[in-house]
Subunit: 162 residues, 2 copies
């Protein structure tokens, strides 16, 4: 399949299960020899004796798109030869073991794409308004502090009933 | 699904289409928050006026497994917290746009996995005995020099009829 080489930035917020294959297809291009990906998944942590059952994601949806667009402009200024960038992020309930975010970048050669995917994930954590609440098997829940978030304290660490 | 945390190294050489989802499933673990991936795809290059139609891969199969095992031991010594490592590599004919290699590493946190996946791909290019021959639309073909291969000149750049 011939795909345009003009770079596309593709974002999706969804309550559905994330398909890695769909994200790969979104960035695929016959002009590219490399697709760099990252998948963030829900860890089954045990925190202070409380076992995590899943994460509840919320987003300031209107700002997610604009922050991701800004981040992609920044990335393309640093690595001008990147082709397509795609980010799919889950909202709502995400079970332990499932993906909460899948992101991919295609590029003619691998080095720039591999550096850019790290920068993209770091940037998402630092500036894109998505929060997660840990839900424990005890049915207690706590907003998860995002240590990398630069623009607000996000939600605090108040424990609350689920 | 509960998955053992003991690190597994999983390799496959195959003449079949590579499934990214299968590689993701192979490294998935509820103890991990991160899966770093890389996909190498066949670029539709035009080289000296000759358009690439696909790549023909050959491997010294007996050595691929041992070299990948050695590479994984090296990687686990550098980043001891990695969980699973999986590499699927195509052999034979790979059309432009298709994946020739899919690799993934799972880890509790993303930084070590993202560094390790770069190292894994660099190591594969440098020391794993897989060669590729470019096949052009004219039906001519040329073994592709691997500039990163450290242990031999591999095949030369002799152009030959397909």
């Amino acid at each position: 399949m011939a795909v345009s080489e003009e770079g596309r930035d593709i974002f999706k917020l969804t309550r559905d299960w994330l398909s890695v294959q769909e994200v790969v297809a979104a960035v695929s291009s016959t002009s590219c020899g490399a697709i760099s990906l990252f998948i963030g998944t829900t860890r089954g942590d045990v925190l202070e004796g409380r076992k995590v059952r899943g994460l509840q994601y919320e987003a300031y949806e209107a700002m997610v798109q604009s922050e991701l667009s800004r981040l992609c402009r920044d990335i393309r200024a640093r690595w001008p030869r990147l082709t397509h960038i795609c980010v799919h992020h889950r909202l709502g309930w995400v079970e332990v073991g499932e993906a909460s975010v899948v992101m991919a970048i295609s590029s003619p050669h691998r080095q720039e794409g591999q550096r850019a995917i790290q920068y993209l994930m770091d940037g998402l954590k630092a500036s894109v308004p998505v929060w997660k609440k840990e839900v424990y098997e005890s049915d207690a829940a706590a907003w998860k502090e995002n240590a990398e978030c630069k623009w607000s304290r996000c939600h605090g660490d108040t424990t609350q009933q689920h």
